[in-house]
Point group: C2
Chain length 220, copies 2
Amino acid sequence: MAKVRINAFSISLDGYGAGPRQDLEHPLGVGGEALHAWVFPTYSFLHMHGGGGEGGERGVDDGFAARGFEEIGAWILGRNMFAPSRGAWPPDDAWRGWWGEEPPYHVPVFVLSHYAREPLVMEGGTTFTFVTDGAHAALERARAAADGRDVRIGGGVATARQYLRDGLVDEVHLAVSPVLLGAGEHLFAGLDLAALGYRCAAVEAGERATHVTLRRDASA
Amino acid sequence: MAKVRINAFSISLDGYGAGPRQDLEHPLGVGGEALHAWVFPTYSFLHMHGGGGEGGERGVDDGFAARGFEEIGAWILGRNMFAPSRGAWPPDDAWRGWWGEEPPYHVPVFVLSHYAREPLVMEGGTTFTFVTDGAHAALERARAAADGRDVRIGGGVATARQYLRDGLVDEVHLAVSPVLLGAGEHLFAGLDLAALGYRCAAVEAGERATHVTLRRDASA
């Protein structure tokens, strides 16, 4: 059966998924880029936009980066993952995401927002659809759009926490980066993953991060 | 120069150093034993009380367990690490620690307590001295007793946090066990280790835990 997955979700040793004081200059919060340092040298990241070319490492980290795109039929993103703006969309908003005209998704992407907006059809199969009736509704639409493949919850932290808290995620891959953030958005705080039925299925050392796989025991 | 160290400090993937609802039956809190599962099969643990004999693994986990006893001249323990009782010591208290007549310390051990008590002289070089004038005073006495060797902060979580928060710890080794606790005593919550000057020095995969070494940059 199709799963709901979180993949390549980067956190610090002390559990933060984003640094403090997010703004345009620091979309991942201060210090937040360091959480993702493991993915930048990977083949999967460097070739995310397709095409050939040289470069990119093909080790354990790359395997996890690649897996996050396999068998995914739809994505869900929080509003802040899509745009730096907050609140109502600016009039004549020309923002089309962080990823250029051909985003790496290549499938339908549902963006949680309190504010309605027309869908954006991008190149390469990605469409951004803005969902204003909540996380559960977005998941229903994503499941339907995924047509039997998995749905990936892309983040950010608040969005991941919301789906975890509601027991809607089957599998979580965390990439634990060798950094301390000390403050920011904590993935685990107040979220009792054990009581929600999650168990550690595997821990694997990568080149630049430690990869933790959690699975939910549906009987819990 | 002699250091203040935390070694072999076990935490869960979600950052808990002890489970919830500690009592006599669950001295590490419910589920807390699982945090320490990595150390039980090690040679160092199985031969903690000296002697020869068979058994015990000699891998990465064992190396970290062994290192925690090397070059240590004195220990500091929180009261709850020493005894299951709380509050004033019971009259005619016969409790002499969890470790039998020959504890594995073999050096002076300073136990933080709000209640005075005569020192306990054990076999093999361990003495338990009860310190009622606070964490800083205990550290001064431990440094003096260590005579140029390192001081190890043994725990529990509250004691470790206290010394970390005051910037008194030079080096921390965390053993991250592949379990989720979901609740209990959190090592990191409200403790900004980055701001306190701690940096990740190394991450190493062991057989049953991931070993994280943090060091404090004294210039921070």
